[in-house]
Amino acid sequence: MLGRVANTIYWMNRYLERAENYARFMDVNYNLSLELPPNEIEQWQPLVVITGDWELYQSLNDTVEKSKVIHFLAFEKENPNSIYNCILNARENSRAVRTEITKEVWEQINSLYFLVKSVADNENPTDGEFRTFFTQIKNGCQLVYGMYDATISRNDSWHFGKIGQVIERADKTSRVLDAKYHLLLQSPELVGSSLDLIQWAALLKSVSAYDMYRKKKGKLTSSGIAEFLILDTEFPRSILACLLNAEQCLITLSGNSVRFSNNAQKKLGILKSQLEYADINDIINQGMHEYLDDIQIKLNAISSAIYNSFFAIEEQSQSQSQ
């Protein structure tokens, strides 16, 4: 397939996954905020911090307030990662790869765009409208994935799209864990308290992991949850499971499972092995924030390697001909 198209479909899925995760973060935080003492900064600041756009937020807003954070993450046109922009970009990308996807997938992404646009154009949405909106985004994205899996052949295009989705998902799972770390830092005396437990449960819910966690581990403990979200091989949103998924796609695309045949496969293999042999207690003792930070940096490097190995053949072939 065309290199440009492969890159576009990879990013189309990353944008969709990002939009869905932002909707999840906000929905759970919103839910949580209803039962907690109204200390808005503590409640909403970490949400912006985990997205990595805290500086941009500060440049656009004087204070941290629920409505401002929601606006910033959901609708802010200046924020390249807002749900609005993610869906807009996903739609522009899917327009550009219309020949790779089906009518069903295109129409669903297109309707998500009109949804976001209509809510963003609404000047004074109520809290209830926000909750409905988050649900619509989550469901709408799931509908795209469902149609994607049900109507598109497992060809190169599907695999590039899948890699984009799971790399983004791994990144967001690491960031949501990191958010909890920020909360803990602010209130070490609360560790193990009921508030602490509510927050851990909320975190699990924000990645739809609560039910599966309960089924596998039962009791809510910080190390158990961290282990589940970083190292579990069966839960589809854990970091390691995402990496295993991406590895399978890369093997199919590169046709090499014994060793690696390109830099993307190599970098991914190293990170995957690192996680496969990791122990959650070591991670916590070393410092979870640093560990997660390191994973995020490596995920970025993998993304660049995928670009250079598959999408940037144009530049390579042009430099060869010079």
């Binding site: 065309l2 290199g3 807009l88 042009q318």
Partner: protein, 478 residues
């Protein structure tokens, strides 16, 4: 439920496609009219709204501004179809086939033997001075000697009920995706109307297009691509739609690379050869080495690969010379010269200002004529005589005298009308007709067309940027 009310429908002064001058329904609309009688205005308006929504959901939109925050518009589809009976269609078909066959021979001749000049059928200077004439193609013959593979001529019907060809579009005629999607939408809107009405299907278009493209290559399974300027082009919906329906690659100039005069696509597995390109990029932009040097839309070396016969370009570069409004005036002579036949489908009477007697007539009768600049399009560079002031007429006379080659004039034609839904009633609106022809092993006219409609009351401008819309066009089996 109040039924549709046509009692105040006005047909005066124009040819109406549905009603004759006594307000009696014409035969081609009889069945449709019977079924429509069961609907109310309210129901019709509901169906119209559903249609607008369907167009948005399908993504049948174009950006008005070139950034992605810009206003996005649909080409509104009016749900009352234009209906043409088989006899009328057969006539159009024959006329278009004749025309395209002759035009193709003409293009081949002006780039090769140039007999048409030697026999003094058309002045040489008229062709050589056309901006669309590419001297780089002199002595070149495209595969199977076909130049104009895809044509979308604009036709109108005058007050006399006669069809006229208004212009030929041989460069990159657009709108065919609207013909195809309009039909899909109308089938959903009026399923009960289609049954037993006997409407000829149009869905074959993309298969025929693919066959036409493959026919041009010597390869058994040629690689076919559609070349688009990209997602910000107003016809991008059509480009992606056609590529997808044909199972062809949709490429931009930057996806292609030319090495040793061979065209390749840049894929994730390396370079892959391309054999046939349906290009929706104008001549000027396909190759910065030969044409517009600042263009980023094309691919360096593409034209060279074409001249070497290593890739087929569709439509062939250089065909745009026929779109010149002065050349149009010669088409009756061109048909007679190459085919020895009289023109079946008439032109609008055209006065060539470069010819002395015509020029004299134009200057004396300018208040009755429409004057057009030969190298302009889209309603620019025009004088509509009956609607102009004395001062404007004098300005145009001066321009004509200064550069006669650049002007033609035609009598004003009153476009026919078709009933069209307005906010609360149904009124006649002016229409034109664009059928699509594919030239492969023979010349096929797809039994359907894009009918463009001027939605503004009294307007004769069907252009999408000026309040135009479209209608589905039904060709009946009988």
């Amino acid at each position: 439920m109040p039924k549709l009310d046509f009692s105040s429908y006005d047909t005066k002064g124009f040819y109406d496609e549905m009603f004759d001058e006594n307000n009696k329904v014409r035969p081609n609309y009889e069945l449709f009219s019977e079924r429509l009688a069961n609907l109310s205005q309210k129901k019709l308006n509901t169906l119209q709204h559903a249609t607008d929504r369907a167009q948005l959901s399908l993504g049948m939109t174009f950006n008005v501004y070139s950034d992605n925050q810009g206003v996005e518009r649909i080409l509104p589809l009016d749900i009352i179809p234009r209906i043409i009976n088989n006899e009328e269609w057969t006539y159009l078909e024959k006329g278009l086939q004749q025309r395209i066959k002759a035009l193709n021979l003409f293009i081949q001749d002006i780039y090769n033997d140039q007999k048409v000049f030697k026999d003094k059928i058309i002045p040489k200077e008229m062709i050589f001075s056309s901006v669309s004439y590419l001297k780089e193609l002199q002595g070149f013959k495209p595969p199977k000697d076909i130049w104009c593979h895809i044509t979308g001529s604009d036709l109108i019907k005058g007050g006399d009920g006669q069809y006229y060809v208004l212009e030929d579009n041989l460069r990159c005629p657009s709108g065919v995706s609207y013909m195809l999607e309009n039909r899909e939408i109308l089938k959903r809107t009026f399923p009960e109307l289609f049954e037993t009405l006997g409407v000829k299907p149009v869905y074959n278009y993309t298969h025929t297009l693919r066959d036409t493209l493959e026919y041009l290559s010597d390869k058994n399974k040629p690689t076919v691509a559609v070349l688009t300027p990209g997602i910000y082009n107003s016809a991008y919906f059509e480009h992606s739609y056609l590529a997808q329906q044909m199972g062809a690659e949709l490429v931009e100039g930057r996806d292609l690379i030319v090495k040793n005069d061979i065209v390749y696509m840049i894929t994730t597995n390396g370079l892959e050869r391309v054999d046939v390109i349906y290009r929706r990029v104008d001549d000027d932009f396909i190759d910065p080495l030969v044409f517009n040097k600042n263009s980023m839309l094309g691919t360096p070396g593409l034209f060279g690969a074409y001249l070497k016969g290593n890739v087929v370009l569709v439509n062939a570069p250089g065909t745009g010379v026929v779109d010149d409004k002065a050349v149009y005036a010669y088409i009756p002579k061109i048909i007679k010269y190459y085919l020895g036949e009289d023109m079946i489908l008439p032109n609008v009477k055209t006065y060539i200002c470069d010819e002395e007697s015509d020029r004299k007539y134009v200057i004396e009768n300018i208040h009755d004529l429409v004057v057009k600049q030969t190298d302009a399009s889209g309603g620019y560079g025009m004088l509509i005589g009956p609607k102009s002031t004395k001062k404007e007429q004098e300005e145009f006379i001066a321009k004509i005298k200064q550069n006669p080659r650049n002007y033609i004039a035609q009598p004003m034609i009153n476009l026919s009308r078709v009933p069209t839904i307005t906010d609360n009633t149904i009124e006649g609106r002016h229409v034109d007709l664009r059928p699509y022809a594919l030239y492969g092993d023979d010349i096929k006219i797809i039994p359907g067309a894009l009918t463009r409609v001027a939605l503004k009351k009294g307007s004769i401008v069907v252009n999408s940027s000026q309040g135009g819309g479209s209608k589905d066009t039904w060709i009946l089996n009988s």
